[in-house]
């Protein structure tokens, strides 16, 4: 054990001296997480959306007025800015001139069409350079259309049930429009298990670069051979296993330190303000992730003959696993085969676990995720051990 620690200490000294571990373990992930967070974070952060939507009510009926009131409320809440246009033509011109991002036009006769069960269309006009504004307007209109369809069905059902005895059709429509939605979605972050953009990219880049960081330990075995020092280590009065163990300690320490620094720094940086969640839970995920990364990178190292070859193969493997594991974008939202495949990677489970923690969960809530990552670590390390013996030979 003492010899292993001495080898690890020497390796850590060398890694700090050539700064490679600092660059791959801390600087690169922090830089990319910051960039992703700053660029893509605004897209997914509702507070950061600066969209102006015009609403034109050419109908003026019961149903359209309800919609206008709802949009005004969204404007009051600061979700986006609302202006009220006087005509469809004027709104289209404003959108074309870029004065607004999008316009929602409710045509004349819309309420009558709804009540009468006839087809009618809400028109959304978007500015060509504002896809987000158009998306928001379309989402609002689509939501409204869904509600209107519900009203239409309710009114139609009431009419069918009462035969010809329906006295006050306007009141029925108003009641239907005012009826609460039977099923709603709680969109608060705490319950959604969805990481904020800054937390997602901080965690994703941390676990992605973790695979590059831990490689410095295991690749040291190949470096000892190419620079001739393996002969001295083998000739020294130390157990051969201590050479491997020393390299493993190096990988582990580099991985843990890298992740710890990233967790702390991304939590403290004001423009990131990442929320990693329960510290003990994070520690469990981090340790599991480091062990899994060590297992994978050690397997790769045992197949390579030189450090350069190993580095190249490890980079490919790290990228593939990172991509598949959703380190660059959340693959789970895609569903299907890709989402299922992503569960073969420790990255996906790591990010899932963090989602649980970020949603207020504790260590007990991430046992499944940590378990899968550790299973990955055990399988890969077990396979690596069967091949490691040849790396501590001449």
């Amino acid at each position: 054990m003492r010899a292993a620690l001495r080898i690890a200490w020497k390796d850590l000294t060398l890694r700090l001296r050539d700064r490679s571990a600092i660059i791959w373990g801390i600087v690169a992930p922090l830089l990319l997480a910051s960039v992703f967070s700053l660029i893509l974070g605004e897209v997914t952060d509702p507070d950061a959306i600066d969209v102006t939507i015009a609403v034109v009510d050419d109908d003026g009926g019961e149903v359209s007025q309800g919609f206008v009131a709802a949009v005004r409320e969204l404007g009051d809440q600061g979700v986006f800015d609302v202006v009220f246009g006087t005509s469809a033509r004027e709104a289209e011109q404003q959108a074309e001139d870029g004065e607004i991002d999008a316009a929602i036009v409710i045509p004349a006769g819309f309420t009558d069409a709804v009540v009468g069960g006839r087809a009618s269309e809400i028109v959304v006009v978007g500015h060509v350079d504002s896809p987000i504004g158009s998306q928001v307007a379309r989402a609002v209109a689509t939501g409204f259309a869904g509600e209107v369809n519900g009203i239409s069905v309710a009114v139609g059902t009431a009419i069918a049930a009462s035969g010809d005895d329906l006295d006050d059709l306007d009141a029925l429509v108003a009641d239907a429009a005012a009826a609460p939605t039977p099923l709603g979605l709680d969109t608060e972050t705490e319950a959604s298990k969805e990481l904020s953009a800054s937390t997602f990219y901080a965690a994703a880049m941390a676990v992605f670069f973790l695979f590059f960081t831990v490689q410095f330990g295991v690749i040291g075995l190949l470096e000892e051979r190419t620079q001739g020092t393996m002969a001295r280590l083998l000739a020294a009065p130390i157990p051969r296993a201590s050479i491997i163990f020393g390299k493993a300690i190096t990988s582990f320490v580099l991985g843990i330190v890298s992740m710890a620094v990233l967790v702390v720094v991304t939590s403290l940086l004001p423009f990131m303000d990442a929320d990693w969640g329960d510290p003990i839970g994070v520690a469990i995920l981090v340790v599991s992730g480091v062990l899994a990364a060590m297992g994978v990178m050690t397997i790769v190292a045992t197949f390579a003959k030189t450090p350069e070859t190993a580095t190249n193969i490890q980079a490919v493997v790290a990228f593939l696993l990172g991509m598949l594991g959703g380190a660059f974008f959340p693959l789970s939202q895609l569903g299907g085969v890709v989402a299922r495949l992503s569960l073969l990677t420790p990255h996906a489970w790591f990010l899932r676990g963090l989602g649980d923690l970020s949603a207020g969960g504790g260590p007990g809530d991430i046992l499944v995720e940590a378990g899968f990552i550790l299973l990955f670590a055990v399988v890969t390390t077990g396979f690596a051990l069967t091949r490691l013996r040849r790396t501590v030979e001449l």
Binding site: L14, Q227, A235, A236, P237
Partner: protein, 314 residues
């Protein structure tokens, strides 16, 4: 009663697939003795060293260092060996002192003992003033000296040097050879492999001539030369009565044969150095004016050629 050998190698054997790299190699080294393994590249020198230093598993035979059998896992035997590999085995990003300290700790040294010994070795290898410089800033010769210094650090009973002068400039080479001579005088047993005949002749008390994984012959230099049975060759460049002088010289007790050719008298002599004054006197008396003398003694190169049928550097 003589001291027991520091190294005893018995019937060492190693095969790589169909190639027998080392074939029943046996030899021993006494304390203070320098033993040379002389052979061309690929003769099996490094494989032999790798087995007796515990780097490589052997197929058969045994190696005993300081009374302890050497295996790949025998830490006590390894602690008695100082290895200087053929290729540089240093960390370029560590300083000279850091390199020595790291390996010293692996050899169970520490504290003041390690610090003192590190300073001592740096002095010995002439790098005391460069102790805190990184090894990658050193010249090739300085790196070689550091490579040797690491092997010496823990005061091993047996120092194994595997072709330590390959690719070294003449000045550094001489410094390395002087260091080995000094260590031997201090009582360290040295195993020195080389394919340079002159190094083996200068350093080694005994030499094992190895080729194709097999020790062909072993002994002191005179013993090996006597195996070949060759005599010294003396070439006397002269003017005057050369044929007459050659006949007269043939009568000298040390001369086995004489001939004339290309303006010179060529003699085969037993002990040329001691017989030379008598030979010059006889030549002058016979009417030959000697203008030049060239003495060729049989050497290990000739022995190697005789034993293997090929030159050392083939």
């Amino acid at each position: 009663m003589s001291d027991p050998p520091v190294l005893e190698v018995r019937s060492l054997r190693k095969t790589f697939k169909d190639l027998v790299a080392v074939r029943d190699v046996s030899f021993s080294i006494a304390p203070g003795e320098t033993y040379g393994l002389l052979g061309p590249n690929g003769a099996g020198k490094t494989t032999t060293i790798s087995m007796l230093c515990g780097l490589l598993e052997r197929d058969a035979g045994e190696a005993i260092v300081a009374g302890r059998p050497v295996t790949t896992s025998s830490t006590d035997a390894k602690a008695a060996i100082g290895l200087v590999p053929q290729d540089l085995a240093i960390y370029p990003d560590l300083t000279a002192a850091e390199n020595l300290t790291f390996f010293g700790r692996l050899y169970r040294m520490g504290g003041k003992e390690l610090a003192a010994r590190t300073a001592e070795v740096l002095e010995t290898i002439g790098l005391a003033d460069r102790a805190d410089d990184r090894a990658d800033e050193f010249s090739g010769g300085m790196k070689r000296r550091l490579n040797i210094g690491i092997g010496l650090l823990h005061k091993p009973r047996l120092l194994v040097l595997d072709e330590p002068t390959v690719g070294v400039d003449p000045q550094s080479r001489n410094a390395i050879l002087e260091s080995v001579e000094h260590l031997s005088e201090e009582g360290m047993a040295v195993l020195y492999t080389t394919h340079y005949m002159e190094e083996a002749e200068r350093l080694c008390d005994r030499v094992g001539i190895i080729d194709e994984g097999e020790i062909k012959a072993e002994g002191t230099r005179p013993e090996l030369v006597s195996l070949v049975g060759q005599r010294d060759r003396v070439r006397l460049t002269a003017t005057g009565e050369l044929a007459q002088a050659a006949n007269a010289l043939r009568e000298a007790p040390a001369v086995e044969d004489s001939s004339v050719g290309d303006g010179a008298i060529v003699l085969v002599v037993d002990g040329a150095r001691s017989a030379l004054p008598d030979l010059l006197r006889r030549a002058a008396e016979a009417g030959a004016a000697v203008t030049g003398v060239d003495v060729s003694e049989p050497n290990l190169e000739a022995v190697f050629l005789h034993l293997t049928g090929k030159a050392l550097r083939d």
